[in-house]
Symmetry: D2
Subunit: 334 residues, 4 copies
């Protein structure tokens, strides 16, 4: 459980709204529930915007009660639905959304989503002056300013579950498996899964694969058990990468199998960690609004929640050195 900052409420609100945007992530429902319940506990009416920014544009906004978030903390996906709303990149559309909200008497907004969604939230807050708090909701853990994002822990465990299954076959057949996990620009899932899955190699987006990268792999029939290997490959931007690696391995005498874990990593009941994280972030989002923050994200740093300006979510801080941690651990454990 991350440490919770002490905050002094100095503002008041009658009505706020909450939405989920971009790719869904396990724990989004727990976050929505926390926003709604904390708002109610603070005497604020809370509304749910459906389908992300699209619902702001369409006015698909409905009142939420304690009851409407009952029994959702354990569910994957998002009861508010989500969407990638390209229109919201236009300033005119953002003003239209602002009008929809103000017409309904809504004075502040909580946005749960990844970096694209938070970028939209930042523009909206800056231009319209409406207070907005963002929550990092993305399985990729690719918001540099925050050590943790809603959904990451669940995605890692889902990928691991698949990898534990694949290892059964790899070991039984003395075979090399290439397993692609999510992470287009980010190797966080691959790193965590690589260590936790006891992988033999991890190929991050920035890893340079060379002809001798996998030379330790045995192809000898007589060393059956050492023949099996698990290679974790981050999705990266090049869709063909895993197939190229497979091709290289074939040339070296292996019979690699490819598994692309894909969208299964997005769904499922959130882990305890993600439920507590999302619940904490949702509650703190409302507290941040009451404390006068209005263009910030709830982030995690050095084991504590903190208010990160939406302008700075792309700035990593040097102490939260997940990459270095991976490098130093990996060297020792392999």
């Amino acid at each position: 459980m991350y440490a919770v900052p002490e905050l002094k409420p100095c503002h008041s609100f009658s009505r706020i709204a909450v939405l989920t945007s971009g790719g869904d992530a396990p724990g989004m429902n727990a976050a929505v529930r926390a926003v709604v319940r904390t708002a109610i506990a603070r005497g604020i009416d809370c509304f749910g915007v459906h389908r992300g920014y699209s619902g702001l544009v369409d006015g698909d906004i409905r009142p939420m009660t304690s009851r409407s978030v009952k029994n959702i903390i354990q569910r994957g996906g998002t009861i508010l639905k989500s969407d990638r709303c390209l229109e919201f990149k236009e300033q005119a559309i953002r003003w239209q959304a602002y009008e929809t909200l103000t017409e309904m008497g809504i004075e502040a907004l909580v946005v749960i989503g990844g970096d694209g969604s938070l970028a939209g939230a930042r523009l909206f807050a800056k231009e319209t002056g409406m207070p907005v708090i963002g929550l990092p909701g993305t399985i990729d853990n690719d918001i540099p300013a925050s050590d943790d994002t809603i959904g990451f822990d669940t995605a890692v465990n889902t990928a691991l579950d698949a990898i534990d299954r694949i290892r059964d076959t790899a070991d039984s057949h003395g075979r090399v498996f290439l397993v692609e996990v999510m992470g287009r620009n980010s190797g966080h899932i691959a790193s965590e899964v690589g260590i936790a899955g006891g992988a033999d190699f991890v190929v991050l987006p920035e890893t340079e694969v060379r002809s001798d990268t996998f030379q330790e792999l045995s192809t000898e029939r007589t060393r059956f058990e050492e023949k099996s290997a698990l290679i974790i490959v981050a999705e990266g931007e090049n869709e063909q990468r895993i197939h190229q690696i497979a091709g290289d391995l074939k040339q070296q005498g292996h019979e690699p199998r490819i598994c692309i874990l894909g969208h299964t990593q997005r769904g499922g009941s959130p882990t305890g960690h993600d439920r507590v994280l999302a619940s904490g972030m949702g509650a703190i989002a409302v507290e941040f609004l009451l404390a006068g923050y209005g263009c910030h994200m709830v982030g995690v740093r050095s084991g504590a929640f903190f208010a990160c300006p939406l302008d700075e979510i792309h700035l990593a801080h040097p102490e939260s050195a997940a990459e270095q941690s991976f490098d130093s651990l990996w060297r020792l454990l392999k």
Copy 2:
């Protein structure tokens, strides 16, 4: 629990061996354990052949004790390792294997594997006269004479777990998902998963996909929730099939996503059903040997275990009409 046939022991053996062959299937370890323990209970020494028929050829055969099968009933894969041994298609190699066994004083063999492995078992038994009992160990459930095979129930539940996750995203985004499950010649996993997963469509290997197959799917923005759909596609022999269907759906205005569940379906801890099935089949294999059977598979029909001649494992019996069951249920439930 399937009914167990009454059998009269009329033979005796000093030593038997057991092997796992072909693709691994969850429950193989439970079957090996049952063969070993039943053999010991009947006063027979039991040996484990490593890496399937390859181990017969190489002489990679080791004595098994009650202890060597302790704590494996819940493990996926196979502690005996497995292999697809192409050499075993040659008669000379089969005779070589026979000699290896007889030199070690082994008088009978239990083979756990799919149809290819059982075909090898049949030839070996016919040619050499050594008693062989086969167990259907394959996640595909594609042995026509038997209603059930070791690993099928686990594979269905593993695929379902993935599908339950995918549905979270499909529902949250109003999106069409195409999910490929295993089954090259067999639609059993796809049928079971289609019904149990509440799928909207199931494409079996034999299904003819036409231009109007998916016409019920809504593309209207206003009917967001009805836009989501799950389409289960059996692997089939044409690797491009799922991509072709995705192409068709794109032309019709959908944005389908593809998930290929792949090898994750092979591994993992077996379900209770598969452990009981495998334990029963393993025990009965030894009982069949003692009762004088010698070129048979332990099959399941009408809720009971039975001895199926290895010559007849490709003959479906009309009562076990899984296909008809699927067709009639699917029509009603969709």
Copy 3:
């Protein structure tokens, strides 16, 4: 997938209702969904009665649509809620329920529940003449006429998951664990879990525990690994039984630990098997009504669904010899 009987529809209905009664069982939602969808496919309006027979008495009955059963096939519990309604044992109350139904134009009823609920269904059908089809929904698998009930497979897998965890500790500490599973009058869960969990002993409700029952258990410090043991105990009618056994074991020099799995066995997402079973039974319930059955349960025998008169659900048929199967397997595998 069980074989589906061929049925000729000879009746028609405008409106039917469905309810869940007694202890909840995983798969009840899948069964409700199948009843509703099949009714709709057959042009019948379907109503959901809330809280079992209590809702019949109170008139808590609501129309169901295809949409109201969307996305429930994978959920544990019952969306219709359940209750043990003692009042329904009175004839006057049953007639009151009949009037409620006929006032709403409802012509037939599907009841999903255990033996108490099915006994109520039988009386209701006999007295009022309204056609009623029962579905065996109970984790205990204690309806003698049927080889399988909705929820049993899930409960077995849930118990096994707990037992696999407990074995980790038992093995690590060389310790004896007594694990109580559900089953007041029925040893089905205990038998299945005992075999699938690789237990050392299984105490069924009818097992006579004697002073020498557990004498094989080693207490020697030097045989650390053989000291660990798993003993599965069916709940039975005597709540103190497991504590008495623990007391006996203490006197023999063991330090047994007790785990009572309890209500966790009731809930959770149903397995693929239970979803397919429940979907099949729900669909067939409607087909049975249309074929003129009106005081029957959908049962499973010899691998096929069949219509079992509600008068005969307590009669076991000799072929479905789960008990004998357990006895003969257990002797060989232990």
Copy 4:
């Protein structure tokens, strides 16, 4: 992934040993694997002591290789076995253990266990001067100096899985459930599970239960859905506590059900978080030895690993305010 401290190696070792002691915790195997592999990477021979301190006394110590820790990262329990060794409280026995180790040429020890085990490690290091590094391995997370312990995250997720199941029944029947989770002196599991499980009440060891504690719970039949409630109770030191609460609730007109999760919380495959935590701690333990630490525990504080003197493991530091976090979150979310 916690930040890894930079360390300068200034010592060297030829042989070290590792043991697991006290109650087993998921992730102990991952920690053992990391100690062994890091030692090998640093050119040190590593030995495994079986059955905790008992194995030190008995001399049950075996060489470990990269191979002997293959395929264990995902397994619950401990391959080294564990024991609570009361003898080790005697100084003479600790000197005997020291002699056993020095005779084998072992120069340092890594101890994985809870506070009792770490207290033994501290005495051993102080008295004999042999360098010892402790790892906090306990599901209870009750080492005040460290924010996290090996096994805690897994135990929380296991308890949550059970609670998600129980909620299905609680909701279906409108019933109150009391669920006891582990934690004799510590409410960490109960707090985390209470928030993540969406519980209605959490009773920590220090919570004072009064006559009006549960007065919000409805007993009205007409408010069926609000009747259900989940109350999480930490085990505490008073075994009867949960039964007393159940008695109170009965007097107030409820029909509470009791579930005691017990030992199932100890076992099972560790989560990704616990595998990474344990792998990191295991690797760093060896690095700490090489950097000259010799009476320390690897702890976690403010998102980073640190060297905590074994003398200070009972001192909480004010920033890691899990209790305050729980209190402030709980007030808002309930």
